[in-house]
């Protein structure tokens, strides 16, 4: 629990509620938004930690947005925090869909609604690209070949060969483990010499 806030609960709920109300497109869209809020603006989570949480959210069953908010809530304020962020994430769609289902035919056919949605979709894509550029820069700054290879390899696997995402995450985890073992062995040898 970094930056011990007097009342993290209110902030957690309000933040996740606002983020959830704006995550069009589902899935990964909430990750960049959460990163911006909790890593950059509030400073509650570290950059690398956010990527770890993303991997966990992605590999667990259920909606990524819900999983990610559980992780953030748990990190900041334990189980009560997690329950609160789930509530914050679930309420906006619950309210919005409840209202829409009353007159969903009219909503679906509205020209203005579809224009606004089309515009917002472009905005969402831009937000994701912004975050990807930022993250790739972070990896490039390490000045190591392996992470870049893993990045390119997994991108190719997912994008062009439709490989199962869970499988990609597992394989990359193994690569990371092997790499660590190799580095440790090498530093041990260096010490012995």
């Amino acid at each position: 629990m970094k930056k011990a806030n007097a009342n993290p609960y209110g902030q957690l709920f309000v933040s996740t509620f606002r983020l959830s109300a704006c995550t069009f497109g589902g899935g990964f869209v909430i990750i960049p938004l959460m990163r911006k809020r909790f890593v950059e603006e509030l400073g509650w989570i570290e950059e690398q930690e956010m990527m770890d949480l993303t991997a966990i959210a992605q590999s667990s069953p259920g909606a990524i947005a819900v999983n990610a908010s559980i992780l953030v809530g748990y990190h900041v304020a334990g189980i009560p925090g997690a329950l609160l962020t789930v509530l914050g994430t679930v309420l906006p769609p619950l309210i919005i869909i409840s209202v829409i289902s009353l007159f969903y035919q009219a909503f679906r056919d509205s020209a203005i609604v579809s224009m606004a949605m089309a515009g917002m979709l472009c905005g969402v894509a831009a937000v994701i690209f912004d975050v990807v550029i930022h993250m790739v820069k972070t990896v490039a700054r390490q000045k190591r070949i392996l992470p870049l290879l893993v990045l390119l390899g997994s991108f190719t696997a997912v994008r062009f060969f439709g490989v199962n995402i869970i499988l990609v995450i597992l394989v990359c985890g193994v690569i990371g483990a092997l790499d660590t073992c190799r580095q440790q062995k090498r530093s041990k040898e260096a010490k012995e010499e």
């Binding site: 704006c22 990527m51 259920g62 409840s98 790499d179």
Partner: protein, 191 residues
């Protein structure tokens, strides 16, 4: 009784939809159209469209929609709770494990291996979304030049604003929505 059925159906959807978003679609269809007479196929297609147009995860959106259709607002709440319940238990357990063991060298190595892959996943999702935004369909069309010029303009402008001024994504998205209404309306007027 109906509440219990709703809870159980969406509990299963929540438990078995790994990978989120569109991975949940066939499961939802199976539960609410095939196994239970809750929605017709047309209604199901409608809710998928609405789920894409509105914020929130598809599974939660459809839980709310189906719940209301079947048993009113309490039904919506029950279905939604059922949908997030498996996530709560599993993800909190994983979070506990992560914070307990992430200090270990080996675990750090594993996580370091996974991080670049996460970037790749996000990049791939971003590209899919961009294709949907500028071509209006999920996959690249044969005619690559048949893109929506307005969408490209909004995308580039939003990306520029984000990179240059680092402003909040929420404002960028609200702005993109407003720009969409304005530009498409003008386009309709002028053409």
């Amino acid at each position: 009784m109906i509440y219990l059925q709703l809870f159980w159906s969406f509990f299963q959807i929540g438990l078995f939809s790994i990978g989120g978003g569109y991975a949940a679609m066939p499961l939802i269809q199976n539960q609410v159209v095939d196994l239970h007479p809750w929605l017709t196929m047309t209604q199901f297609a409608d809710i998928m469209t609405i789920a894409e147009m509105t914020p929130g995860p598809i599974a939660i959106n459809s839980a709310t929609f189906v719940g209301i259709q079947v048993a009113g607002f309490p039904g919506a709440v029950v279905a939604t709770v059922g949908c997030v319940f498996p996530s709560c238990v599993i993800v909190m357990t994983l979070a506990y494990v992560y914070y307990r063991f992430r200090g270990l060298n080996l675990v750090q190595g594993i996580l370091a291996g996974i991080r670049p892959a996460v970037i790749a996943l996000i990049a791939s999702a971003g590209i899919s979304l961009l294709i949907l935004a500028i071509y209006g369909q999920r996959t690249l069309p044969e005619n690559l030049l048949g893109f929506d010029g307005m969408a490209v303009v909004i995308f580039l402008a939003a990306l520029f604003v984000l990179r240059k001024w680092k402003c909040s994504p929420l404002w960028v998205m609200a702005g993109s929505g407003a720009a969409g209404v304005l530009l498409y309306w003008l386009q309709g007027r002028l053409l």
